[in-house]
Symmetry: C2
DNA sequence: CAATAGATGGCAACCGGTTGACAGATTGAT
DNA sequence: ATCAATCTGTCAACCGGTTGCCATCTATTG
């Protein structure tokens, strides 16, 4: 017996790449506890399947050996990996920081590890990343996906998928409900004397950008403001700078942008042109990203609770992994207007 | 033949959790190509080990079946997982965004997947996360780790580890070389008439904060400026606000902070108190994080190429996985002063 | 006290690749 | 033509858990 242990220990050390003292297995525990490996396996993963007495013996032995399951060995027969994947369109975009964080936090709270990939805003890269991931994770979160509904549904047919920032029939989704925040914003602008509003749109293929424009239109209708839509070249600070001349040309005195980056770039450019914000033009961003309050004046913005989206999506996914059905309806989280200095009374 | 394929497809569908049509294996390929599974394995992972002819047959068959290796099955006997882990102290801290991005980008360029975890600034959580990860990744990157040198060395003994933002004897490290940037900053401040400088320190256990203070001291010595060190409660915008009164009390006309967040908070608070930046006090941050140029005036800062650190660290790690030795010396990446509006001539 | 149901542990096959050992086929040198 | 050296493919064991099935043992019931 001792001899067996010994020889076992003697053969294995060089096994793992870099001198890792190959960790104890259920076989080691079984030998120590005097039971069959399968019993150890059951004791460790099927509560109640073995008697309390043996359970204890095995747990003690496991503790003594400082046992840790080998995730790969477990994943192989079961397919379970204790891992969730997250694909974001652009890692440099701070919008996603909070989503990543939310997902990581609730994931690790339930002992799931987060695997991260970026699609670089490309539908093709996204699909490839998703496919590659799908085989190694238990479920997938897609944040602001750029690929077709069809492709996403196909992925969702294979493994649980949750989508953030987009609604897709038949796939569980978590989306900020923009209406509340937008209507607060438009009401506030109307109350401050604005009559003509411009919406600076995001990428054409962005579902969320369309959604926000619809919300703006509806709110402007209600509050009797004129609304025009302006296109941006890209949803970044730079894109915001570039759209400044269109904004001026539009004659609007209030601007709502697809996201905060556009708003910040726009504000910088307007200020550089000698225009006073908010006295001459009010600017309202979207998302309340990190840094939105660094500007002078600080940016008024419709806060999307991105962190909450990430964490809700992860929670949803984990529930689905436990066998629950995804919600039939999209989960909506409320947005709200955060009033800071970049919006205010129009001083004509 | 067709029948075999067919029956294979027919028996397996219920296998994987949620109707995943269990993917083809090397056995399927072997059957289709009329060779032994081990030959398939070799053809697919040991270039040159099989003849060009069979190689082609097998590759065709693999392509036809749309084969993808099962990472777990591969990981089990080999230990290789095609995965690198990254542990950051705080996911909300934008400093790490760039590091994450750099690591993800160069990792995925070499077909490695990034696994992410956060330590929430706690040495204990960090160690636990690291241990848990270590068994499932090929190598680990620790960004601004908070745990003891000893613990890190212990981890490094098991698997390749690369550390960012800290130097540890015997462990490969990637650190910004602060001297160049700091001396540019101090020289610029001296040239603008400043004589008394304050350094606002970061967390006491931060290696990098000490390092920066040493750099500031040395540069101030050289340029004949007085330097005092002030403590901050926490390295955030809020911490920056709180340290404002100490800064004023110190009589310094120029401030270098441990990081940009402190600088931004400090600037906000000073401005709120009616102090003009940079006419009365110059502020220089550290890192050039996302948003550092959103402020008015935009923040002058010593840029740490965090993205490059992340990507260099990942590259280093991947090289080590290929069997190369880690560098004996820490890899240093240059910092440089980015002059924006928050620093300038002292107008007494 | 016999019959039976339920609890518990063991056996062995299996998940899907990897790899050392080996044998048959080729090739080349003599 | 002979023999060694090299190539190439096969066999089978193995990585470390999981799980269906069965045997045994215990507790319950008539």
């Amino acid at each position: 017996m001792t001899e067996a242990t010994n020889s076992g220990a003697a053969t294995s050390p060089a096994k793992r790449g870099r001198g890792e003292k190959s960790s104890p297995t259920i076989y080691d525990i079984a030998r120590l506890a005097g039971v069959n490996p399968s019993t150890v396996s059951r004791a460790l993963s099927k509560p109640g399947r073995v008697s309390a007495k043996t359970q204890k013996i095995i747990e003690d032995a496991a503790g003594q050996l400082n046992y840790q399951v080998n995730p790969f060995a477990r994943a192989l027969p079961t397919g379970r990996t204790q891992t969730i994947g997250l694909i974001v369109a652009d890692i440099t975009n701070p919008t996603f920081f909070d989503i990543i964080r939310g997902a990581e936090t609730t994931g690790s709270a339930r002992d799931y590890t987060l695997v991260l990939a970026e699609s670089a805003e490309s539908p093709e890269t996204e699909l490839i990343a998703a496919r590659r991931m799908l085989s190694t994770v238990d479920g997938l979160i897609l944040a602001s996906p750029r690929m077709d509904d069809e492709k996403i549904r196909a992925l969702a047919a294979d493994k649980p998928v949750v989508v953030i920032n987009r609604e897709i029939e038949g796939v569980p989704c978590v989306v900020p409900d923009v209406n509340k925040g937008i209507s607060q914003a438009v009401r506030s602008l109307a109350a401050n004397g604005h009559q003509q509003l411009a919406y600076v749109a995001g990428p054409p293929q962005s579902w969320m950008s369309r959604r926000r424009w619809e919300g703006v239109q509806a709110a402007c209708d209600w509050y009797k403001l004129g609304a025009v839509r302006l296109e941006s070249s890209k949803p970044t600070v730079d894109g915001g700078r570039q759209v400044a001349r269109d904004v001026l040309a539009s004659g609007a005195t209030a601007v709502i942008t697809y996201n905060d980056l556009l708003a910040i770039g726009l504000m910088q450019e307007l200020q550089a042109a000698g225009i006073h914000v908010p006295d001459q033009i009010s600017i309202v961003g979207f998302d309340d990203i990190f840094g939105a309050d660094f500007t002078t004046p600080a940016l008024t913005t419709v806060r999307s609770p991105l962190g909450e989206c990430g964490s809700r999506a992860a929670a949803l996914l984990l529930d689905m992994l436990l066998g629950q059905d995804g919600p039939a309806e999209a989960v909506r989280v409320d947005t709200e207007l955060v009033v800071r200095g970049s919006s205010g009374r129009l001083i004509a």
